[in-house]
């Protein structure tokens, strides 16, 4: 969003005037709350916020201009915090409530939503955590991996599914020339922590808490206790996040299997991808993997969309 004007326009008699007005109001609405979760008392240019709000918002007999603006400011942050918490239960549990809130506020302030849907709210979270490691220290490496894993779930939930490549069409092309695409909803992850089991355990705990309590404060209790799930110990983990029959699954992969899929996803021919598995992997094992992947419908024709590297 471009920098707001110094003052909201007194008259709106053109689209340009409307845009200036909307920049002013939007900048105020998305501005981070203060330490007490209220609208900040000072505007970006140092003027009192009440004075700025009064320039464009009418007071009424019950609320000042500041208070009316504050309603929208609070609703914005509560809505986005709820959305990011819903999408990132594992990250919240790993960091704890206070650190997660600081991270979420910094992320949303730096990377406001550029999408019509809140579904995409966390699409830039992994990159933000990498670029701002102090916000998640000393658990930055783990936080990056959980953010990747949780975003992969969003992709797997409603990502595009392309027509599956048939076994017959595979057989028609020699392995030295055959290139396969991986379904857009499948994400391959090479991780240093088993975050799949960790996030699942957090979700199970949350589900149990939700079953056990329907008191109005149950959400608060749940957030305070969410951190109790044991943090995962480092262990090299290869996992594919995908869906089957429109349900989410996490499939652990052997290192060799991961290398084959990763190579295919990056455009290697089938022959080169299989070679990437390494000499210790037996042909029968490779064949068994492919049988499973074909049954899961993971392969599609190679399209123009470039996939990011898995690791």
């Amino acid at each position: 969003m471009k920098r707001p004007p110094k003052h909201a326009p007194a008259r709106i008699d053109s689209t340009a005037g409307l845009r200036l007005f909307q920049r002013m109001m939007a900048a105020a609405v998305v501005r981070p709350l203060d330490g007490d979760d209220n609208l900040q008392k000072t505007w970006i240019d140092g003027r009192p916020m009440g004075e700025v709000a009064a320039e464009f918002i009418k007071p009424n007999d019950r609320l000042t201009s500041f208070e009316r603006l504050e309603l929208y400011n609070k609703m914005y942050w509560y809505r986005l915090f709820d959305a990011i918490r819903d999408d990132c239960p594992g990250l919240q549990a790993a960091l704890g409530e206070d650190a997660f809130t600081r991270l979420a506020q910094a992320y949303l302030a730096a990377c406001p939503s550029r999408s019509f849907t809140l579904r995409n709210l966390c699409s830039r979270l992994e990159a933000f955590i990498r670029a701002n490691p102090r916000l998640t220290a000393p658990r930055t490496a783990l936080a990056v991996e959980i953010a990747r894993f949780e975003w992969a779930q969003t992709v797997a939930f409603d990502g595009e599914a392309l027509p599956v490549v048939s076994a017959a069409s595979l057989a028609r092309t020699p392995p030295a020339r055959l290139r396969l695409g991986l379904q857009p909803y499948v994400t391959l992850l090479e991780l240093r922590h088993p975050v799949d089991t960790y996030v699942m355990s957090v979700k199970r705990r949350d589900a149990m808490r939700s079953e056990a309590s329907n008191t109005p404060d149950s959400k608060v209790v749940h957030r305070r206790t969410a951190r109790r799930a044991s943090l995962p110990r480092p262990a090299r983990t290869f996992v594919a996040v995908h869906r089957l029959d429109n349900r989410l699954f996490y499939k652990r992969l052997e290192p060799g299997a991961f290398r084959i899929l990763d190579a295919l996803a990056r455009g290697a021919t089938l022959a080169r991808a299989v070679a990437a598995a390494g000499p210790r992997v037996k042909p029968a094992q490779v064949q068994a993997w492919f049988t499973t992947w074909m049954a899961l419908g993971w392969f599609c024709a190679r399209g123009n969309k470039r996939r990011p590297r898995a690791s």
Partner: protein, 282 residues
């Protein structure tokens, strides 16, 4: 106006919003419901469970699309990618009309995910009407715009909210989704008579109505959609059906959602007022 060109000349009756906690009940029990309103954005996805579920609903029910992010009132141009996705969904659902809000919520491509009130000026009305026409021409179905509830008014405004709504829909030649709960909420927040609002809009353009619950606070009312409809809103709805005619009506219940039957029964209360309006016409 039971059926008019703004709702695709349909007479849909009383519907409820399609919400996640009710999916299992709807798919297993197949309750009789006149129609479901879906939030378009929830199904503007590439694949997966949302579209599978929608297809199963479409096999048995009539569905109308309701949007929350077109932001007709934003100064930004309509996003063509967004419109293409919307049109694809329209082809899938065969919605006879679609609705979105008379508001703004994004600027320079940044989204607030809120339904922010407009400054009620003639220039804003012209810009908003232009965008409604562009979207309607692209998606090729009638559009009804919904009045939003609001908590702020602006010095720049040159007219009342109902004058602004009337100006926009006349310029765009589109329909109105009249949310009587939103009128009531805003009337309390801005101290106007909600009946003045209902009486002074172009009644023949009303293609659909919304009712919902709200929450009263000491100094304002919030449009929370987490309660049954309150009596003053039903009374206003009864008045609206008398002056506008009986229109497709939908109950919005989006938070603290009770059982399917409770939501549906609450919606069906509208029949009491519809019957009254019909008798008044006879």
């Amino acid at each position: 106006m039971p059926a008019n060109r703004f709702n695709g000349n349909t007479d849909y009756g009383i519907g409820i919003g399609l919400r996640v906690p009710h999916y299992s009940h709807i798919l297993s029990k197949k309750p009789v419901v006149d129609w479901f309103e879906i939030i378009s954005e929830n199904f503007m996805v590439e694949g997966g469970r949302p579209l599978e579920l929608l297809d199963r609903i479409l096999e048995q029910y009539r569905v109308v699309q309701h949007g929350v992010s077109m932001y007709f009132g934003s100064a930004d141009k309509p996003d063509r990618t967004h419109m293409r996705r919307l049109k694809n969904l329209v082809k899938r659902t065969k919605t006879p009309w679609l609705s979105d809000h008379l508001c703004w919520g994004s600027v320079d491509g940044t989204y607030t995910h809120d339904l922010l009130p407009m400054p009620y000026t003639f220039a804003s009305a012209r810009r908003t009407a232009e965008k409604i026409k562009q979207v309607r021409d692209f998606v090729e179905v009638p559009i009804c715009v919904e009045n939003v509830s609001s908590y702020a008014e602006f010095h720049a405004s040159e007219m009342t909210e109902w004058e602004f709504l009337s100006e926009v829909v006349e310029l765009a030649d589109c329909g109105i989704l009249l949310d009587v709960n939103n009128i009531y909420v805003s009337s309390k927040n801005h101290s106007f008579n909600p009946y003045d609002y209902v009486d002074n809009i172009p009644h023949h353009r009303v293609g659909q109505m919304h009712v919902a619950g709200h929450t009263k606070f000491e100094k304002y009312i919030l449009d929370t959609h987490d309660h049954p409809v309150l009596d003053p809103v039903w009374k206003l709805y009864a008045h609206a059906t008398r002056v506008c005619g009986v229109s497709a009506t939908l109950l919005e219940w989006d938070d603290k959602i009770p059982s399917f039957d409770e939501v549906h029964n609450e919606a069906l209360k509208a029949n009491e007022f519809i019957d009254g309006a019909k008798k008044a016409v006879v």
